[in-house]
Subunit: 364 residues, 2 copies
């Protein structure tokens, strides 16, 4: 199989860069002196090679050819080969990875993707709308009431705040059935098809129990922070649950991995049907180009993988709907949390959000 | 319970820092406008507070008081509350967290710790010695032979390279029984007590299967990269296995979390019996002070948690044994991988390593 082509940005002097790049190739494959490897298959097939090296501003852009076999086609090991040890080397950033088509095809990717989310919610020809149940510490009754309000207003997706985990104030086992029941009741009353994505968190045993509870009460989506529970757990949960998963970027911001690669391409490879990221101009400092690149990686043609839905968020407001739509087009989910919750009349503000998104199709 | 005191370094102007700190307190707790929270229990008990704020060079040092209840006493949620969303804010670094004693005591911490590792290996009054089976891609027979060589030389711990996962060239199910058998044979011949720590990787199902295989063939330790498999999986594996675990720092280097906090204090809280980190003067750029601080966090008194064994590594050599011992004292494990593997006579170099460590007790 053709190699994985992983591109790094490395700070080094022109004199040192060749040796630095060769050392990175060793670090990210065999991690021992190459001189001790006898000539033959291992040297040819397992040791990473410097595929390309060019100046990039005041640093260098180095592309390594990594052997797909070293990843064992396993998510944690893929991350390990791409950025395991060199995560400890501050002069190295991971920018991108190009995968041969047969490699990418071996991953599940989004099981539902954009089409699947549209089908479940009935949202056609426009962005999807989403809000969040907050704050943690609120009673289950309060959160369920809020979910009912959002669903009645016609939001497509209601997600738990990613801070709602399994705390004593609203444990998953009490919270999720109550919220799902409130959403179901609102759907029955309105004829709507709002879906609810609770936060799955904790260890594998806890998550398996959460999956059982979620299935029992008919939950139609899930919210998971892959970098908190572990990417392999994120993948196994998808198999257990069989519903669309929204990836949350908590704890995913700081690795020196380009956000379009991690939040766009890799989260999609690992099965995210939607990927939440901090939009520019909110509480976070990602620039517009970075945000558009995340959305592009989530949606562009990529082997046989379904496109994932980009979800710009993080301090958005109803006033920004038109601008976000102009930025991202229709294949996007607009997530406004605090912007609705802080309103004097949450129900009305939610209806205004829904109307603002539907307005341009003449479907208010 | 008293709050968790989490200290961050924040880049901001003097004019903005108070508002920036207050915003961080909101981001790391309720993540919605405080104005929308009614006065009462939630505002008092759940919203994080700015506990301290002081200049720190050209930035500021901000300590937040976080409510322990928001963590649900769960590892992924603790990381979420400490650094979930603000990992996406490049102006914020997490420096440290102080935990009230009852909070820390609720975590398992190291089940074996330094004493347990000494007991299993019979290593007393001196640093422990460790090497690594490499490279990935080598045959199982080669790796087993290498393990036998290391064990015969009297190394205390033999670990898999963290790049040895479950690849087709040496899958866990074939590799681990073969290596353990080679170590057992060498122990029988020498009367030694070398233990072997294979790499556990993949999803929860794969790891449970690996645990079964490891138990069946009498494996006495484990190597895990918590940031690759997920911290909650790391914790559950400890319960399944019942043997000491060595934490590997792969993928753990890049978060803007101070290494002594993540690799020292938190990995120990999450149960690492030993924590591997890149020593200064090797292939990585951690400075000496950072390395000593990691070792200090691993070993210092911390609630009722057993001390964990610091394992400086990453391009070390037999020539540095005396210096590392002077740096770290005796409660340390010295890990030399490539430095042994690149020798013309690996067996002799391994014996020299063991002798160098034992020399100072007059136990050559």
């Amino acid at each position: 199989m053709a190699p994985l082509l992983a591109t790094y940005r490395i700070s080094a002097t022109e004199r040192d860069i060749r040796a630095r790049a060769e050392a990175l190739a060793v670090e990210q494959s065999i991690e021992m002196p190459v001189a001790a490897i006898p000539a033959g298959r291992m040297l040819d097939d397992v040791v990473a090679k410097v595929h390309d090296l060019r100046p990039d501003g005041d640093a260098f852009r180095v592309t390594l050819a990594l052997a797909p076999v070293t990843t064992g086609s396993e998510a944690s090991q893929l991350l390990n080969m791409l950025f395991g040890n060199c995560s400890l080397q501050p002069e190295v950033e991971l920018l991108d990875v190009q995968m041969p088509e047969p490699f990418a095809r071996a991953w599940p990717g989004p099981r539902f993707g954009i089409d699947g989310l549209r089908e479940r919610t009935g949202a056609r020809g426009r962005p999807l709308t989403c809000s969040a149940l907050k704050p943690q510490g609120a009673s289950v009754e309060h959160l369920a009431h809020l979910a009912g309000t959002f669903a009645a207003a016609g939001l497509d997706v209601i997600k738990d705040d990613h801070g709602l985990a399994n705390q004593a104030t609203g444990p998953f086992s009490r919270r999720v059935p109550a919220v799902q029941a409130a959403v179901d009741a609102a759907n029955r009353a309105s004829g709507g098809r709002t879906i609810y994505a609770p936060t799955f968190s904790g260890g594998p045993r806890a998550i398996a129990e959460q999956a059982r509870i979620a299935k029992d009460c008919g939950v139609q989506a899930a919210l998971v922070a892959p970098m908190l529970v572990g990417v392999p757990v994120f993948i196994e949960l998808q198999e257990m649950l069989g519903v669309p998963v929204l990836a949350h970027p908590a704890f995913a911001g700081s690795p020196r991995i380009a956000p379009p690669l991690l939040l766009g391409k890799l989260f999609r490879l690992f099965g995210a049907d939607a990927t939440i990221f901090p939009n520019h101009g909110g509480r976070f400092s990602f620039g517009r180009a970075t945000c558009l690149a995340i959305a592009d990686e989530a949606r562009r043609p990529f082997a046989t993988l379904a496109p994932a839905l980009p979800v710009p968020a993080g301090g958005m407001s109803v006033e920004r709907v038109a601008e976000m739509r102009a930025d991202y087009g229709d294949d996007v989910m607009l997530l406004i949390g605090g912007g609705l919750l802080a309103a004097d009349d949450i129900a009305r503000r939610s209806r205004e959000f829904v109307a603002a998104v539907r307005a341009e199709q003449g479907m208010p």
